[in-house]
């Protein structure tokens, strides 16, 4: 599995988990399915971008920073769209979204595909 694919899967999975935390906010609980799907798509897009970055740039600090930035940007887009109750939750969406991006950034930098390791030794 290469880094973009790894980032895609991890971003999607963490996106789903991040979306599910909306259950703890009663005002938006009714729209949780939409939120989870949206968060998953956001995670997939962020994950593939971060994974592609990790493939090109081998630096843990830069990977985390890039993940943070991509996560924040996509979370901003999600937060900019009004929620079903008409309100915007910038901090509630952007802060965790940025951190999820940073986690994916960390994980993709630390991940070393087996095929790459094999070819490096051969």
């Amino acid at each position: 599995m290469n880094k973009p694919i790894y980032g895609l899967l991890l971003g999607g999975a963490l996106g789903i988990l991040d979306g599910l935390t909306a259950w703890f906010t009663p005002e938006v609980r009714a729209a949780i399915l939409t939120i989870v799907i949206g968060s998953c798509i956001k995670g997939l897009v962020a994950g593939v971008c971060i994974g592609y970055f990790a493939k090109k740039v081998n630096s843990l600090p830069l990977g985390i920073l890039f993940g943070l930035a991509v996560g924040m940007f996509l979370a901003f887009l999600a937060a900019a769209a009004p929620q079903p109750n008409g309100q915007h939750y910038y901090f509630a969406i952007m802060l965790p979204g940025s951190l999820v991006g940073a986690i994916v950034g960390y994980a993709t930098q630390q991940y070393h595909p087996k095929s790459a390791t094999k070819s490096a030794h051969s």
Binding site: T25, I64, V100, Y106, Q110
Partner: protein, 292 residues
């Protein structure tokens, strides 16, 4: 009649014991070590103009240099030459190793990771010898030398023996480091786990003055278990467990509690743990403030 002073007697003894190297290409310098199987001198190779170590064996024992010559490994001192002295004693010539003995190195109180890396390096030549069917039988800190460039060499293969050979010999080794089966004289029943025991005792010696964590102590305990069935199957297994500890992975010799597992994971993934904890803290704060 008054006897000669001790100093003079010692000197005479040294002169008498000194090997006659007149028929060889080597000139004697000084004695550098003495063991049950012979005496090691530093000498000068007049042909290649270099210093070497020359071991004079206490008997016509040509098995030791032959055994050693089979073991070509960076962690084992290479044999350059061998022969017989005019008085019938055998000698062999090897690389002169300069550095610190393991016990001298340990006296400097190096950090635990450094100690463990050295311990792991000791296992390598021992495992290599085992793979060639040879057990050392006298592994101890005095028989391990650390070179100035980080080399780790296992010395004194004088009592090494070929596994499964039918040779009958007396109990060899050093008390405190030899395995129980070796001490009991069951020389025919010895296998590589006897050396694993000695390695475990060396590890316990190295850890004695450190505050090593439980998993590391468990590795040494397992290697030096009285029952050989409970020991590591070989020196590489011991080395692998040390490597697992250094890599932040669980070791086979120690069963961790969930708390120890968590702490070990956090200590080896500090950045990721910090990111996850920050995420959870932010989520908790958001939850707290949206509830108000």
């Amino acid at each position: 009649m008054k006897g000669l002073p001790d100093r003079v007697l010692d000197h005479l003894r040294e002169v008498i014991e000194a090997p006659d190297l007149s028929a060889t290409r080597y000139s004697l310098e000084k004695e550098v070590g003495r063991g049950g199987m012979g005496v090691v001198y530093s000498a000068h190779d007049t042909v290649l103009d270099r210093r070497v170590a020359l071991k004079v064996l206490s008997s016509v024992n040509t098995a030791e240099p032959r055994t050693l010559a089979q073991l070509e490994h960076p962690g084992i001192v290479p044999v350059h030459d061998s022969g017989l002295l005019p008085d019938g004693r055998a000698y062999y010539v090897m690389k002169l190793v300069q550095g610190a003995r393991l016990d001298q190195f340990a006296a400097g109180h190096p950090a635990l990771p450094e100690l463990l890396r050295v311990m792991s390096r000791i296992c390598e030549p021992v495992a290599f010898a085992h793979a060639h069917g040879i057990i050392h039988r006298d592994l101890k800190p005095e028989n391990v030398m650390l070179g100035p460039f980080g080399e780790v060499l296992v010395l004194d293969w004088g009592v090494a023996r070929v596994l499964g050979s039918a040779q009958h010999d007396s109990v060899a080794g050093t008390r405190g480091y030899m395995s129980p089966e070796q001490a009991s004289g069951l020389t025919g029943a010895l296998d590589v786990r006897s050396d694993v025991f000695s390695l475990g005792r060396i590890m316990e010696y190295l850890l004695a003055s450190t505050d090593a964590p439980q998993p590391v102590r468990a590795i040494a305990r397992k290697a030096a278990a009285t029952d050989r069935e409970l020991r590591y199957a070989g020196a590489l297994d011991l080395s692998a467990d040390i490597a697992r500890f250094l890599d932040g992975q669980p070791v086979s010799a120690y069963r961790e509690s969930w708390r120890e597992q968590t702490l070990r994971w956090i200590s080896h993934h500090k950045t990721l743990a910090a990111l996850i904890l920050t995420y959870v803290a932010i989520r908790a704060l958001i939850f707290f403030f949206t509830r108000r």
